[in-house]
Subunit: 422 residues, 2 copies
Amino acid sequence: MSGMQELLPSLQAEFNRLKSGIAEVYAHHGFQMIETPMIERTEVLLAKAGGDTEKQIYKVIKTAETMDSADQALRFDHTVPLARYTVEHMNDLTFPFKVTQIARNFRGERAQKGRFREFYQCDVDVIGWNELPVEYDAEVIVTLAEALKVLPLPSFMMRVSNRKLLSGLLEELNLEQLSEEIFGIVDHAEKVVPEKTISALEGLGIGTETVVKITTFIGIHGEREAVVAKLRDFGFQNETFKSGIDELERVLKTVKTLAPEIKVEADMLIVRGLDYYTGTVFETIAPDYREIGSICSGGRYENLAGYYTDQKLPGVGGSIGLTRLFWILQNYGLVKASVSKPVEVCVIPITLNELEAAAKLAEKLRRNGKTIDIVLTEKKLGDKLKYAGKIAKYAIVLGEEEAKSGKYIMKDLETGEEIIPF
Amino acid sequence: MSGMQELLPSLQAEFNRLKSGIAEVYAHHGFQMIETPMIERTEVLLAKAGGDTEKQIYKVIKTAETMDSADQALRFDHTVPLARYTVEHMNDLTFPFKVTQIARNFRGERAQKGRFREFYQCDVDVIGWNELPVEYDAEVIVTLAEALKVLPLPSFMMRVSNRKLLSGLLEELNLEQLSEEIFGIVDHAEKVVPEKTISALEGLGIGTETVVKITTFIGIHGEREAVVAKLRDFGFQNETFKSGIDELERVLKTVKTLAPEIKVEADMLIVRGLDYYTGTVFETIAPDYREIGSICSGGRYENLAGYYTDQKLPGVGGSIGLTRLFWILQNYGLVKASVSKPVEVCVIPITLNELEAAAKLAEKLRRNGKTIDIVLTEKKLGDKLKYAGKIAKYAIVLGEEEAKSGKYIMKDLETGEEIIPF
């Protein structure tokens, strides 16, 4: 199926190793795993979406009359199901609710290389009850950064901003009515040459001086102190802008405190496309592979589930798009099929008369956590060893004598070395 | 969504623990994990299906023009995707291919308790190249039995038969043309009173003597030797029947050799509904909970992928329907929400001034594999401890003094006991 990842077993093993590694980091940071259905009511899925998302949705239709009649579709991200889940189980959850979902989502994207229609997203979210301090924004960034360390990426950098800054700037410039357009232009700025951004802004008819102010603003990036100083230099007094500075400073400071070794910088180019986000926003780049774009992103949302409940549930979350990332890592030669064979020891009874001894040996080895395959075909020993060589690291051949004596020789199938294990 | 499992975090943790346990047993037995797309072309999915399956399928429609136009649907089991996968990657796989899939499938079943429209199946299969000795049937049965031991079931029994036996009996009685009907009646025999089965057979117009022969046959069950002796007593000379006896005997003998402690018996009532199966068939019951029916089943198929390839690929497989089983275990009180709290230690800085010390402590504990949550809210200590009590086993409160001295007290949140850990 085009646009669907399907891997050979050895590469799948590597994918699963990375996925488990990410899950382990999330768990170690206190995020609880949940699982939501892949099918939701379309009305729920599209409540906050629209545009491209609506176009890319997979609708699901029931062929039997016995199936219920609601209009259904495959989820395209974890956020909508999370909102419904949180509201539905509100009384049984502990807030702040630190939650993770690692599972497949579906989007009917245009078929092209590196774009997947079925893909794993590895999400973390923290959801507050009425309020949630921005320190949790830092916790999400740090947890994602720790999880990214599981991946075979030489280095990466978290780029952080706060949407209140650009919003505050636009308030100051009396450009609120062009907010959507300007956020869009800034969000695309990195994908085009600077002249294009400038001419796009000029195209809004906002005057050169204003354009310069905006381009100066989005050019700001770097260490926390320097960036905060530059932002203060604008001298804007509106609450939105001031609160943006304050939040950005607190988030970056907390990231530094929680995990001093993580590479993080403030960058005003980061705004994230979705107006879903209301405060902190972040993306992640691999500096050695800048062309691949953001490998992990997220942000703060003011209210997770306004569509379902009057209860205010502010949250912050982020996601690693593992399927796409894995594909990229493969393309750069950074991920290879699992080098270790799927089986540790292949136990080969010469005939089925030695099967009992083979089974006992296998059970003993499995109890020690080993992965054991017993060869049950009645082929020539040479053929059995050939099979073993493909799937296992070691082989133990059991003939009549070995079965009787209980003494075995283990053969390293790569080096040919013979080991007497016990 | 009705018919979709959705669990609270603590119960989800227990579900995941069982799922991982099953995966580990499969891996230890040398089965390699693969993952196939959840969406397949409808034509592929329905190639060997029909009837109920066709009615229960979820079709998937693309809303965007950019999406490809093939008729697609959600898979309803792992077998069809496995067949396509094996053929597609044939040249890169090692045969016998021991393979596992643990993932969700979809069926638009009538909404009723304990029936799920989205459900986990935990499959193992062994696929041979041209041939596959029936000893692998035993290996599949043993692997599934070992995996079932992970579940909180007091006991279970594997019931094994071979479809060649009933087929051979029908050949002997010249009833091949009623084969489908009789297999159906036998498959349902356990769900109805014996009189119903008898009258259903009589309804085929086959004469009392013949009905008695069939009911005598399906009444046979028990230990290998006794069952084999009774089957031989029929004195049938047709190859199908004789080969059924031979295979059944070999499979049961090999199960005994591989895992002497597993409860297994031969039972002629087992035929499995699908004509997909051609030899060994098995089901599993929990004797203390017989009413729940089979909790794990499978069998031998002559040719996995005749629809796609001329290459003969005989196989044997079986599956644990984990979602349904988990629901049943819950209903019988055999599974409980994970007793252990999701977080081991909740680290509570009294103010954000102690956050640095808290972060260092958390990092140290995480490096030892512990699950740690740092409380970032600026609430009263009492509120923070209340939160910790809900999600964590222990709490460490960090005030100015603890941060300075590096000496902490760890409090057991259940017993109130105070521990000096380091």
